[in-house]
Every structure is written in C-alpha cells, then in structure tokens.
Point group: C2
Chain length 153, copies 2
C-alpha cells in the first residue's frame, strides 16, 4: 500500500520530514487508517531532549509533516482524486501548535494519529495525537494550505 507521500511529484518530494527523495530526511509515510490518518516513526537514539526523552522539536517536525500528509489525503478524498502516478495535492503548513503532555520515551515506536477537523477549499485543519506505548504524550493541531503545482519550482 502506497503512502500519500509516494504520490507527490518529484519537486514536492524533497522535504526533510516526508520527502521520498530526501536521502538525509525522515521519509515519513502517512496512510488512512479508517477515519484516522496514521504515521509511524521511531526516533533515533540521538534524537534526545534529555536522556531517555525524545526531543520535542523532532516531534513537532513529525507532527508537521503528518499534518500536511493528512491534509493531502483529505483533499484527495474531498475532491474525489484517484491517486495514481504523482498527482497528490500538496500542502504547506500555515500554523502548527504542539502541546507536550508528558515526556515521550526515546526507545519506543511512535504512532501519530490524525483527525480531519475541517476541509474548506484549499485549507485543511488536522488534529494529531502522538502515542508512545499506547499512551498519548503529545497533541497538536496543524492548519495546512494546498499549494499550486508550480509552487517552489
């Protein structure tokens, strides 16, 4: 099963967080999981904040790309786009809010789950929750905006 990021065209696939063509990046992958969106990510040992705890800035960046990926999934669904080749809508982040509820352990695979709050034209609002070992450690909200196909080229 392909992730939404696998349907971004090449010039939209350079992102450090989610670009399939950025060899130094995180290359996260975001899918539908029922009515939620899902990204899995396991921090590297050096992604520490304080020993044993995952760096909040890294989590913010994963929530960010999970948000834009979720927004693209939502836009494709809303606009009845059949994903094939590299035709996925591409969004950028207008606003990112992250609340750290408790320390996120460094040695645990994380699940980032998204809920589509609103799709309005080119704007999508996504709520995200980060789960470590089944517990929510971080919650976030992203406002993503669809960009034109020529954005950044």
């Amino acid at each position: 099963m392909k992730a939404i990021q696998d349907y971004y065209k090449d010039s939209f696939s350079q992102c450090f967080g989610c670009g399939r063509l950025n060899e130094k990046g995180h290359q996260i992958k975001t899918f539908w999981d029922g009515e939620e969106t899902l990204t899995r990510f396991t921090p590297k040992p050096y992604h520490t904040a304080i020993p044993g705890v995952t760096y909040g800035g890294l989590i913010a960046s994963i929530v960010d790309c999970h948000g834009t990926g979720s927004a693209s999934l939502a836009l494709a669904r809303e606009n009845k786009i059949e994903l094939k080749g590299y035709n996925a809508p591409r969004c950028v982040t207008a606003s990112l809010k992250v609340d750290y509820k408790k320390p996120t352990p460094i040695d645990t695979p994380l699940e980032i789950r998204g809920t589509i709050v609103e799709v309005k034209g080119k704007k999508v609002v996504v709520d995200a929750k980060v789960y470590a070992g089944g517990e929510i450690t971080v919650s976030g909200r992203i406002i993503a905006i669809q960009v034109g196909n020529d954005f950044g080229v």
Copy 2:
C-alpha cells in the same frame, strides 16, 4: 561570550536541538542581545520543504530550543543566578505554536529573536520571530517550564 547552552550540565546537554554534547544535533547557541534573546542558525541544503524553501518542521524545532534557551536566560536573570560552570536553569517545552508567514529561503542565515513575555515561578512564556534577510518569515510562542536538576537522570 558563552551561550546559555554552555552552562547546562552534561545530562542537560544531550538535546538534538541545543545540546553541546550531541554531535549529530544542531547545537544552537542562544544569547542576550539587549532585551531580546538571539539565536543564529543557517539551514543545511537538505533541510528543504520544497526546493528553495526551508523545512517548517526544522524551523519549529529551532524555535523550540531557542524558546527553552531564552526561558533559561530569563530565569537566571529573574532569580539573580550568576552563570558559571554548569549551573543554568533548564526548561522543557510545554507548548509550542509556530505561524508560517511566508516561505523561509534555504540559503540564508536566520536570526531567531525572542522576547520574554512572562516569568512566573517555573513558567516562562517566550515570543519568537524568525528573520531571513531582515524579513520576518515565521513567528512563534513557547511556554517553557523549568525542570528539577534530577529531571531525566
């Protein structure tokens, strides 16, 4: 002149964003600049979002560590702590909000400037602005909380 991060004790210096002992990390440095706090950071060529544009998640993570560093500077000033050795107060982020005003170019040294909004006990609120070539591209607000010396050990 030493940065606030140079006064964190070793176990507080492992952070991917700002730890002086994290060899794979960004090792940002935060200073007073008059009544503002200042961090300088130049994105690497692979820190892209879309070609030519800096990855928003990276900016969020730099704003995050600039925020905790600024909070530590503010707490040291508020509590009349003379910084020496490794005695700096250490904060973690409770909440991070980042608004992307316009694309941040990838090839430009960035200045992140902070304003201390509030210091109340262990809680510090910091506003941040990211400047690229003199223009504000991103603004943010961080709520940071001071942790005990034994946190995460």
